[in-house]
Symmetry: C3
Subunit: 418 residues, 3 copies
């Protein structure tokens, strides 16, 4: 019975094919090449100076770094579970491949609301679509091991739309700054996912508790994910900034923030263990908090000094979160956060607000207080959409049609993989 | 006896040293730096505008992506075998390091046939050499586990030459379009390899059947290969196109094709399993077919819409191939295709022809029908050289001098690794 | 007792927090953005031509490749040990994150000695800091498994300073050439590390001998490190050269050197085994020697022919070193070199001197003999500082305050990881 109810034999093909066919039709109707993607192809024989200034050459290396973060970074970070490696990396792959297509449409549609016309695609839309996908994968981390792939595709549909609406409100209506997505990507993805996992609360999850842990090699696989996220985070934060010194500075600040964050992560991980032993979960996750926390401020004149302070605090907060807040969320608030996304993406995203306030002169086109106020409003909007959206989507995902695993089948590849 | 006959003690050193010495001599005689590699080195103290327009900056990031595909992508994709991981990644490494040197010479020689002069090397020749190497590694995938490294080096010698001749006929004589190598790399490599494995048919391979399968961690290692191939395929297809919008468009189209391909792969993998479970072999391979199938057309004005249709079909065809055609090839045609290269590289390469025909207006410098006709002739030439060449090389590899493993030693690292 | 003495409960937090706080203060006092990192951020709305010429676009892709080598390359190369994977990749991560911050300060300070003013940071300082970090990680390879993380942080403090002093003497005072760091990075790091491990000699290390070896999957993890180092070495050697043809040539020469090195590595590995079997240790390490040996000469007009000869010799020397010299060093000189850094980084670095002498006309701004003489003096200086510095630092690391593991706890993650 349980086996029958989780079968993906029809559910997954129907979901994938229906979604992909709809995407293809919408792309056919609404999408066209951006001006530096289209062109008089075939007529050229020599490369002109103009060709060298194609946006491709100034964004594509950053895009590829972001792409690696999405598929290898997020995918392998979640392989830490001993019997859920196929699903971690495999469903991450599926959800990401779907989300980036839908995000292109929804983000593009909102962009054209004002101006009309078709949706334009190029390397910038590819980066933005990957960003939105990252937010979906953060939410996936919160419910990892407890959901079916059809549930995750369904969540992705709603989350991509809500993400894009929130992003549109923040960047286009409120003129907030968030190049690296502290709020739009991390805070949104984390709190949305936390609400979903709250609604999907499983009181008897201890049945599969033994499998909700790592083994030796699964932790080393997870370090592949961690390191790619860590190394390429400077590219993530700077991928979509303005060109020139701003992009340069964004990458540089993120690099220093992450380095400082790593040292505080090791320090607090050892300090909080009664034998002084390091916890792989902290290293795999908290060392990345410096990139999250600087998502907004990295493009500002925050200096390496400021970046390192933010990174150091982010690492400390994140380790403390794993040690104290995650158990509290689970036991008191019934939020079962498999990957601890609250510690890596939730709190460091909020830390960003203090960053902007702490460095009042870091931006020059607005009065500092006005910008700080706008960032605060943006954060409230983000939290509102994430929390309410997450609850509603959580209830949608509770419908008994997705083949969700039983409690004893959680964290187990065998349900979905031959 | 069996142990003695497979010893690499003398065979491998002789092969490696002889081949490398010949390569070094030929490089000394025939190769010189391309004009933007050579220069008045040492005289400069400031970077001039001209230096920023060096081809290096517009090709090298793509080259590095391709390089990762060749060594990590192909190498780790083949680590799925439970007891053949060292050989998969290690012989992939050896064959690739050899092939890229030989390819530089043979491709360069054919380029200079018309014009005379020395062979010029630079970042473009590096990409082309890696492409040719990719074709050899595809053939390696067909015979994986059943051949000695000396056999593989020997195969590489012949395949690099035949590949380069075929490529020269297609691109220089027939004016075919094939920037991403649907025909020259994938179709050629696949059918060449299939013929080699046909001639090397082992009727008693079931002796090592147990080892011709994966274990849990070997499948996760293989996903590293899959994901790097998948992420960087846009760079592969666009690495050698003309600069500007064409290169931009090629990467973009490939990105969408792969995303759509991934969804159809998951759909058909679940649909074809009676319990609806996903098959790692499909995910690892078929999800890449969208990159192969768009190798030729990606630079054209095929639109994201067209790219997604091609990708979707490629994924479906590839999964169906693994499910139905591979067993047929093995039982009826005696073609033992270890990695299923027919499904990933063979059929999607042929699908390309239909792509060019289905989108008659996608290229503007030729009448569409003429271009489609030329592509068809090119495919016939490619298949002819691959099939006949593969059979001949197969018989050369049957000579009892290479230390080929016995049937019970197949798929076993212990034969070659301490 | 033993457990208590190795506890990191206070040691590691104190070390990490104290060092990071000092770094942050010094960054606050002494560091400012380089001119193409700083700017009138926020005022711009359009990208100007000038923005496209920001150094960022011509260095950042190379930087990211180097970054991957430091964190994934070195980190995973050392995961070959069966029970030390967490520490290999985890302490590599910690030490590298620390060293790159300190290196920025020390290298920057020495740069400003002549001119005065603040330390400027940008993508070039990031590459140089990663280079210095690489040298520290080479030394880490020599003592791998036998030291505590606090010992390693302490070593890093001293080594970063000595490295920077040596680099300053060579490049700024002696006008030596060493773009890829044959001497400054590899020779220095190797001989420094060998002296440290000599002073830390453990006569009873055979107590943990069983753990000082690999298992099947740990060797495959290590190949991830090897391949990333191999693929990106052309970026490493060329990351900081002058722009234009020099950078192009440096990458190209390194590519050929590594390819030739790989073939000689396989040849000699099989030849030296009495059954002709390949040794994973050789493949993982010696195949990289071609990159080390060409660190200095790669930017010169050495031709692919010359590069391949150097690479071929480097591979052979390195394998011979693993087979004959490492056991000699251990048994006669009491140098326990866990990763065999002498074979990969020590000897190939010295080979560089012969390279410069063998190709007398490869540089045009100095008389060849003068340049060769300067390189010889530089090598002597490097060896002097490395050997004497290593001995002194070795004795500092012998103090019983770092929580060093007992002999039976060596090569064991359990001491430091939960």
């Amino acid at each position: 019975m349980a086996g029958a109810s989780t079968s993906m034999r029809l559910r997954l093909p129907i979901a994938c094919i229906a979604l992909e066919v709809i995407l293809i039709i919408l792309f056919g109707v609404a999408v066209e090449y951006d001006h530096d993607v289209s062109g008089e192809a075939g007529h050229k024989t020599n490369t002109t100076h103009h060709d060298y200034e194609n946006e491709f050459y100034y964004r594509y290396p950053s895009f590829q770094d972001v792409h690696v973060m999405i598929f290898i970074g997020f995918g392998f970070l979640m392989t830490f579970l001993q019997r859920y490696g196929f699903s971690s990396v495999g469903f991450n792959f599926l959800i990401a491949a779907f989300s980036l297509q839908l995000a292109t449409l929804v983000q593009g549609f909102l962009h054209t609301i004002m101006t009309g016309g078709k949706i334009h695609v190029g390397v910038e839309s590819m980066i933005n679509a990957d960003f939105c996908t990252g937010s979906v994968l953060i939410s996936f981390g919160a419910v990892l091991g407890k959901t079916s792939p059809v549930q995750m595709l369904t969540m992705a549909v709603f989350e991509v739309i809500l993400f894009s609406v929130n992003e549109f409100i923040l960047l286009s209506l409120l003129n907030a700054k968030d190049a690296g997505g502290s709020m739009t990507i991390h805070t949104f993805g984390a709190y949305f996912g936390l609400m979903v996992t709250r609604v999907l609360y499983r009181p008897n999850l201890d049945k599969s508790n033994k499998k909700n842990s790592s083994v030796y090699h699964s932790d080393i696989f997870a370090m592949i994910g961690t390191l790619y996220l860590w190394m390429f985070w400077p590219s993530f934060n700077s991928a979509i900034t303005l060109h020139g010194d701003i992009q340069h500075r964004t990458a540089l600040n993120t690099y220093y923030s992450l380095a400082a964050c790593t040292l505080s992560t090791y320090a607090f991980s050892a300090l909080l263990n009664h034998e002084g032993k390091l916890d792989m979960v902290h290293i795999q996750n908290a060392a990345l908090a410096g990139g999250v926390a600087l998502g907004t401020a990295a493009e500002m004149m925050i200096t390496p000094f400021g970046s390192m302070i933010v990174g150091f605090l982010a690492g400390a907060i994140s380790v403390l979160g794993y040690r104290f807040i995650t158990p509290f969320l689970e036991s008191k608030l019934k939020i079962q956060d498999t990957c601890g996304v609250h510690n890596l993406h939730g709190m460091p995203g909020i830390l960003e607000l203090f960053t902007v306030s702490l460095f009042p002169k870091i931006t020059s086109d607005f009065p500092a207080s006005a910008q700080a106020g706008m960032q605060a409003i943006s954060l409230v909007v983000t939290l509102g959409i994430a929390l309410i959206g997450g609850i509603i989507v959580g209830f949608i995902l509770k419908l008994p049609i997705y083949g969700a695993p039983s409690d004893s089948q959680c964290f187990e590849d065998g349900v979905y993989w031959e």
